[in-house]
Symmetry: C2
């Protein structure tokens, strides 16, 4: 099976590498073409455009930034839609709008091309170790076709239901982590401000009700004021916009996520490219430097 | 060793029971006297007032609702302070103000009575199974004297530093759970509102970045709209007031905790006596009934 891979950013590059390691024949394309080179050195072939890549592949993974980027890759000039053969399958692993995903699926259906949405959680650590959590929406048949590929990228793969439901699950995930990150940041800010040993506090608190992956793994970074990736603040802000747009379309008010969006906006300039644990900077005590 | 126990509420009653089971000689007192009876039936003796109890005990645990209640038990009419012998030790396991705790300690010092603060996390489940997380502040000697008793009540016991630091650690814990609860509630609200299976979402999400004790153990209660205790919303609101007062005294702004306090205020009348997972009611989608 020929697997196409479009979007070799900080996540996609690591994921394409895992497919090569697993023995798949992989053809890659990236808007900034020089990002293809490390993959080609590992055995991938490269392709000029999404259209030419589509003509060579049975399954094409797209891993790009936002809804408009997926639209461009699919339906733009030299887009996948002009190259894909009937019966081929698009696996969109980007985090984008669930509603727009449904619209893309309708347009691809006219070309007899399948699509599933399969956004991920787990950041660059999960991408590297092939232990991503993958949220899938689409038909059962398309899910089963993609599964041998997805299994080389993630360790928890859940088929939620029809097209778009993977994106909804991802939005739920991003909403939950938003306030969880803020709670951990505020707790650490209070500990530091009050002169409590914050590492001791994390150790004690991690045994009880307040325990979370974020407290144990990102709390120490907040204490150090150092935010290596991880998962970019700017990307979480983008995901939060998508999730909040979906909530708004359902007349649902999510004040915690709204608050985090506002706090992240204030950090974008200085910390947008750092890990989202930098949300700590928005509540950092003045005397803590 | 004679252990006194004052405050036989939903937490204290279970904790006193564990001390009896462990073979301690326990003398109990409660403002509403009839709550003493089940403990007496299990082998405790009862005492008329905090003062008379204090005269009989080497170590006295106080487990009452708020700062003013601890003050009343210690320094009110027939308070502990009038009965305690020099060399005895108060172990205040209530969640109260760290600052007031320091003031109480100074007054007890004049009577040659020791005090440590030892608030807990883990709710009635933790109290029952003697697996509470206990946050301790006070002198090392006093901590060591109390340890044989504390070890029968909790499984994670951390000595943070001087008097009041246990309360600060507890405040950190309550700040962290505030926004974590809200994040989980908002995620589940979005899942339900968008027609996603929320149990499937929790299962998938619990494997990744968003995993927390609250998501796994309280998410299902939010989905059911049923909030058995656990930990009362009203008590968390009280703890949050104490934590936010401490933050304000340090000129620290904690917008997530502030938001949760506001949301909890709106729920106090209908859900104050239910588990704090009822925070879900403040973001519940209109069509979810």
């Amino acid at each position: 099976m020929n697997v196409g891979f479009i979007g070799l950013g900080s996540m996609g590059g690591l994921m394409a590498r895992n497919l090569l390691k697993a023995g798949f024949s992989v053809v890659v394309h990236n808007r900034t073409r020089e990002k293809e080179r490390p993959l080609v050195e590992l055995g991938a072939t490269s392709s000029e455009t999404p259209a030419s890549l589509g003509a060579e592949a049975d399954i094409v993974i797209t891993m790009v930034s936002d809804t408009k980027d997926v639209e461009q890759v699919l339906f733009g000039a030299n887009g996948l839609a002009t190259g894909l053969r009937p019966g081929s399958l698009v696996v969109d692993m980007s985090t984008i709008s669930a509603l727009e995903t449904q619209r893309f699926a309708e347009k691809l259906l006219e070309l007899e091309v399948g699509i599933i949405d399969a956004p991920v959680s787990g950041g660059t650590e999960g991408a590297k170790s092939a232990k991503l959590t993958i949220f899938v929406g689409g038909s059962k048949d398309d899910f089963n076709r993609a599964l041998p590929v997805l299994e080389r990228l993630g360790s928890t793969i859940t088929h939620f239901g029809p097209i778009g439901s993977g994106q909804t699950a991802k939005a739920v995930n991003q909403i939950i982590i938003a306030s969880t990150f803020l709670g951990v940041a505020e707790g650490i800010a209070l500990a530091k401000s009050a002169g409590l040993d914050p590492n001791m506090a994390i150790d004690a608190i991690s045994k009880g009700l307040a325990s979370s992956w974020i407290l144990e793994n990102r709390g120490p970074r907040m204490i150090d004021g150092s935010y290596p990736l991880g998962f970019k603040l700017a990307l979480h802000r983008k995901d939060l916009r998508i999730a909040l747009e979906q909530a708004a379309s359902l007349a649902l008010n999510l004040p915690g996520a709204q608050l985090v969006a506002t706090l992240e906006d204030s950090l974008m300039e200085d910390f947008g490219d750092q890990d989202m644990s930098s949300i700590y900077e928005s509540v950092r005590p003045k005397e803590d430097s």
